[in-house]
Amino acid sequence: MNTLNTVVRVLTRWALVLFLWSGCDGGGGSELNLVTCGSLVKLLNTRHNVRLHSHDVKYGSGSGQQSVTGVESADDANSYWRVRGQTGGPCQRGAAVKCGQAIRITHMTTGRNLHTHHFTSPLSNNQEVSAFGEAGEGDDLDVWAVQCDGEHWVRDAAVRFMHVGTRVYLSVTGEQYGHPIRGQREVHAMPSANQHNWWRAMEGVFIQPSAAPLRHDEL
């Protein structure tokens, strides 16, 4: 009886190992420290220590669109942006963003996309950066390329965002607004790559890739 027990036990153990090995419902890969499609992030400008931010306040000049600023606080939900693919482009939920990949950056609370165009920024006379669109849909000027070293966009790594349409870099140079957004910094775009255009993904909700749902293919 004892030998039969051990035999049954051993058999179950090996059956389990084989089962797990066979990759049936194999777990998704781990992208624990990468920024992935669909994730929410806060982006910190490393030179000026402010987070990319937007709100329901429009520019008083330039395009008059929704303004994008840099804020010092770390606990404002208006600093969350969602990483998405281009319109119709592939960006499967949980897939790691590659260096050089073109993405859209959508403001979580207002649903508008990070956008730049040929308007002058109010404080520094660089190119104005705004939040544009409705419910995540804007136009071709919403597309930015993530520039980084290596293969994928790593959380905590300093990356640059280059605008695909006008070839400029998302930057902060330190100019501050007055009332009603006192203390917030101007965010604009400039043609040169320098110390002012490094950004780091800080807080956020980073989606990991999932296993494909179970399939029941008949032979």
Binding site: M1, L4, N5, V8, R9, V10, T12, R13, A15, L16, V17, F19, L20, C24, D25, G27, G28, L32, G38, L40, A74, D75, D76, A77, N78, Y80, R82, R93, G94, M108, R155, M202, E203, G204, V205, F206, I207, Q208, S210, A211, A212, P213, L214, R215, H216, D217, E218
Partner: protein, 360 residues
């Protein structure tokens, strides 16, 4: 006779196996209600469902509730870890290495959030004066395949957490009117900003893994909240993190409630003489269609039970509705073919003229 003997032997062995299993510790598979070959996803699903049912806050009348809940946590902790599960299957609970006394709270909160134990709207009933951090809403895109079979999405939450820091800070700042005496009978009222002193706090980023379940049959715009996983508030409680489901369009199936709609184009020949085909469903299984009668363009076939599972009861399924349209031959017919068709089909000329848009 031989078979009867074998059956008895099998039963005896099974009984002995199970008794030894029971004596050797808890049966984690039974506690979770899953089979020994359950996938990690089945285990997560079972844990999530039972955790909501068995939580002590929900079962305050049951004296055994904390024990049952602790058993559930231990079962999930072992069966969700590949290594530990292998050991458990081989040696039972006693065979597990020491040091698996991980906090059940961690497991529970990865499915429901930090303050997930506040059931029944307790959170809203709390003192409104406690300030709350912002809520975060994340649109979670799901495919129709995931709606059909269910899935789990792992998410890493990096959030600022309030930690003590040396020194003091100003908090609860407010405007107050101060009255100062300038002289006998002369007073002046001024407005002043007055703050309390509180222990200093700094925000430090912490990481944790959360599990969101895409339930079978989930509807568009449904939300899954994780209490306390939103933005922190320095003087109060953190807000919540909510995942809002967004069901993506599908190339083959269209969803209406629990029903699925699809279109199939068949040739004129198939429409007239019949055909057999398979439709591959969302989880890979095949739906067989056999027609031996004439199939008109616009004809619909209802396949009961081949729709989506209902989110409240996954044993109830909607239907799959297949609409057929007919593709006519591309090449024109010559005279002999036309004569052949006239004689084959034996359908006289119809030429009925009517207003089709108003139901005549």
């Amino acid at each position: 006779m031989a078979t009867k003997g074998m059956n008895l032997c099998n039963v005896c062995c099974l009984l002995l196996y199970f008794t030894t299993a029971v004596l050797a510790g808890r049966d984690f598979y039974k506690i979770l209600g899953v089979t020994k070959s359950a996938s990690i996803r089945d285990i997560k699903k079972a844990y999530r469902k039972l955790a909501l049912q068995l939580h002590p806050d929900r079962n305050q009348d049951d004296p055994e509730a904390p024990d049952k809940f602790a058993d559930l946590g231990a079962a999930y902790e072992v069966l969700s870890d590949e290594e530990k599960r292998k050991q458990y299957d081989a040696y039972g609970e006693d065979g597990l290495k020491e040091g698996h006394g991980g906090s059940h709270n961690d497991i529970f909160s990865s499915f429901f959030g930090d303050f997930g134990f506040m059931f029944g709207g307790n959170r809203q009933q709390q003192d409104r004066n406690i300030p709350r951090g912002n809520d975060i809403v994340l649109d979670l895109e799901v495919t129709l395949e995931e709606v059909y079979s269910g899935n789990f999405v792992e998410v890493v939450r990096v959030k600022p957490v309030a930690k003590e820091a040396p020194g003091k800070r100003k908090c609860n700042c407010r405007q107050e009117m101060r009255t100062t005496q300038l002289g006998p009978g002369r007073f002046q009222m001024t407005q002043e900003v007055v703050c309390d002193e509180c222990p200093n706090i700094k925000l430090v980023n912490e990481e944790r893994t959360l599990e969101v379940e895409i339930e079978q049959g989930v509807r568009d715009e449904m939300e899954y909240p994780f209490i306390g996983e939103g933005e922190p508030h320095i003087d109060g409680e953190p807000g919540d993190l909510r995942f809002r489901i967004k069901v993506l369009k599908h190339a083959v199936f269209e969803r209406r409630g629990d029903d699925l709609y699809t279109n199939v184009t068949i040739s004129l020949v198939e429409a007239l003489v019949g055909f057999e085909m398979d439709i591959t469903h969302l989880d890979g299984h095949k739906v067989r269609i056999v027609r031996d009668k004439i199939t008109k363009s616009g004809a619909r076939l209802w396949k009961k039970g081949e729709g989506l599972p209902n989110i409240d009861n996954i044993n109830i399924r909607g239907s799959l509705i297949i609409s057929f349209d007919v593709e006519f031959p591309q090449t024109q017919l010559d005279e002999s073919q036309k004569d052949g068709i006239r004689s084959l089909l034996k359908q006289s000329s119809v030429q009925k003229i009517y207003n089709g848009l108003q139901g005549y």
